[in-house]
Symmetry: C2
Subunit: 310 residues, 2 copies
């Protein structure tokens, strides 16, 4: 693995996911404006980190990444729905996302809410549809030849739902909103990041061992890896929000500060936050010690996340 190049790996896996999503969403459907709004945000330049983590963790567990593309891609639908709803005027009120107008700026608030609702629902459809369905149109990119155990699919649906809903991402977003303009508190911040960001990232990493039917120790190790990189990911985001510029982040830098959001840099300083992120990444890589070189992509992704500039 001396020649392993993380950038090439990320590019290849991103193309696998993009290609699946493109064929999945290309069928024209009514009402066309809704599908246009869904596509707009799905193809707004996302890095597909969550699907790639699922593919890499499946690979670490001895699987062939291309066998689980629909399940991995469903994670991107959930992530995208959460961005659309978070950007709404009632929430974070952001006009730009990855350098482009946010969904509601283009399609209006009603359509943005509904496009988010539809993407969240479609994620579960995308997972369930890979088991030969009894009804509904067959969409391009389907995979009725896949032979993943239905009880494994139920487990990932369970995992994704708990990580995305009131006990995960939505709960984190609620506390994030409630804590604006309140006294910074590291425990509250930890709760917010663990739920708002780390929960779905952890579910993405856990998808690999669950679909590969791995043993409990493997699942536990990858769960800890996911929680650690998930938190580190959010800390780096906070740092980039301060240090970054509008071009790199695709939104005005310092937008968190303007909204008086609680962040790691505001509590620990930029250097303290960077150290915290480095500790988390080191711990994430450490829990991977029980894995062979098949986990090298996961190791390199952890290194990459802390070095990223956008």
């Amino acid at each position: 693995m001396a020649m392993f190049d993380i950038k090439t790996y990320l590019k290849e896996k991103r193309e696998l996911v993009d290609s699946y999503l493109k064929s999945y969403f290309e069928t024209p459907s009514e009402p066309s404006i809704l599908h246009e709004a869904m596509r707009y945000s799905i193809f707004a330049g996302g890095k597909r980190i969550r699907p790639i983590l699922a593919l890499a963790s499946y690979e670490a567990c001895g699987g062939e990444p291309k066998d689980i593309i629909p399940y991995a891609s469903a994670l991107e639908l959930i992530h995208t729905y959460s961005l659309i709803h978070d950007d709404l005027p009632e929430m974070d009120n952001d006009d730009l996302r990855r350098g482009k107008p946010t969904n509601h700026k283009v399609f209006g608030e009603a359509m943005a809410i509904l496009a988010g609702d539809a993407l969240l629902t479609e994620a579960f459809y995308m997972i369930a549809n890979t088991n030969p369905p009894s009804r509904g149109r067959d969409r391009v990119g389907g995979s009725s030849d896949m032979k993943i155990n239905p009880s494994s699919l139920i487990k990932i649906i369970h995992d994704i739902a708990i990580s995305s809903g009131a006990y995960g991402m939505v709960g984190g977003q609620v506390l994030d909103i409630l804590s604006e303009n309140t006294k910074p508190d590291i425990d509250i911040l930890h709760f917010i990041h663990l739920h708002k960001t780390a929960a779905l990232i952890t579910a993405s990493v856990r998808m690999g061992p669950i679909l590969a039917d791995s043993d409990e120790d493997t699942l536990k190790a990858l769960t800890r890896y996911g929680e650690n990189i998930g938190l580190a990911f959010q800390i780096i985001d906070d740092i980039l929000d301060i240090e970054g510029n509008a071009k790199e982040l695709g939104k005005s830098s310092g937008s968190d500060k303007k909204k008086m959001k609680m962040t790691y840099p505001s509590l620990l300083g930029v250097e303290g936050s960077r150290e915290k992120a480095q500790d988390l990444i080191a711990e994430a890589i450490n829990v991977l010690r029980i894995f062979s070189s098949k986990a090298d992509p996961l190791r390199e992704i952890a290194h990459y996340l802390i070095k990223r500039r956008s």
Copy 2:
């Protein structure tokens, strides 16, 4: 079945569902305001028609209704989320629902959007959690002793997701919004009602034969029953909106007209609409002819729906 009393049947089944939902939602959780917002709308007086239809169709297929309560109850979470989002100022802008202030009037718009998101997500969790989960808190009312085939669960998730998302309820809501103040057209109205209302009602009815592993003819008959009563249900709603009073409907009567919404009465007149609903109910009961007396609750529900006053 001469003594069969539909009101008693509906009351008993509603209590089964309410009792499950009460124990499911009683565990205190953080952030408490989010869970309070979710509970507010779940316990705002819904008639639990969708869960009851699932229980009755399972019974028609030879099953024991109490064995599928969590799956049936998940339908109510999806229905409730759709009401919360539909009532938002950006959508139908309703202040009252079943005589009570709508979710966003009590908790604010951000929380209403998030409570809806959480309920939609929780519906899939509720279904997947009945297969013994590998993680997450065990909530009261769980049912790990249930032995429904995981591939049947995948099928109902598939069915519910396609009926609720872009190809079902959300798609119908989008066209409903788009068609306000446009020229009334029976084909568009049919599309709206079929998607916005009938799709999830049909999925509710189809839950029975899918979980009972019934044959294709049974599934087809119940699908037609569901589509027919689903459309009739919406037509009666439209009529009640005109004829009803605020007390019975829990919202200002004539609110559709004020918004220039396309309705059956505006296209066919009240009498024409009532005839249309009666034809649909007759057809629904006709397709049940292949069933024994076990389908009597479904037959009586069809009669009941057209006679209801609220």
